[in-house]
Amino acid sequence: MTLREIRDILTAEVITGDADLEKEIKYGFAADLLSDVLSLARGTGVLTLLITGIIHPQVIYAGNIFDLGAIIFVRGKRPAEETVKLAIENQIPLLVTSYIMFETCGRLYQHGLKPSIPKVKNG
């Protein structure tokens, strides 16, 4: 699906100015722990959306390392202006939705978004 569809499904706001809304997103990864993102998101990349409630700049630095397709902040969380600037510099589109993480994931899954990894190896 495209970023535009994700925006519409979640009545989200794109907060990084003129982001390319036709960008294709196929996979999702949701976490509120950056430790989890760093240790589990190895296979992610340009086609992946990170769903998170973390709004500090480290999420953008991590997103940059993973070449993430986009990041959506749940529960109406909104990062500081500096963090948004950092995302623009790194060409990572940011969205904000009022939905909680569960609802965000559920809606996207229902519309065909796949997990970037379905389960961990040792759990």
Binding site: L34, L38, S39, H56, Q58, N90
Partner: protein, 151 residues
Amino acid sequence: MAEADENIRFHEMFHIEGGNFTNAGAISSQVKKILKGAGFSSKLIRRTSIAAFEAEMNVICYANQGNLSLFITPNFLKVVVKDEGIGIPDVNLAMSEGYSTANEKIRELGFGAGMGLSNIKKNTDEMILTSKPGQGTHLEFIVYLDQQANE
């Protein structure tokens, strides 16, 4: 571990300020930029950058200051991270997944789940960690260039 002093094509050292979370991750982003500019594969860049990110966070979370050096050689990438900090009393225990001494502040930022060191090991081909409690920690890791093609 392979020696980095032979055929070093590139070397850069970055200073890391302990306790300063504002730009935590910025050095790893620079490492990534350098590796991208050098034309390495995205997988190799990602593995090295993830490990560098974890190492950078460790210095910021647990040390007063430190530095991260990136070496590029014809055969491998090497990162050396040295810090002046509290050190690690039991390296084997610190390496086990889930073990963490992170305080509330670190956890509030979404770090400190005790996955960092094992994640560095997972993403690299060789890793050496030595530490003297009260003095600091020395971490080195290597990612080989030629193994990337086989993955």
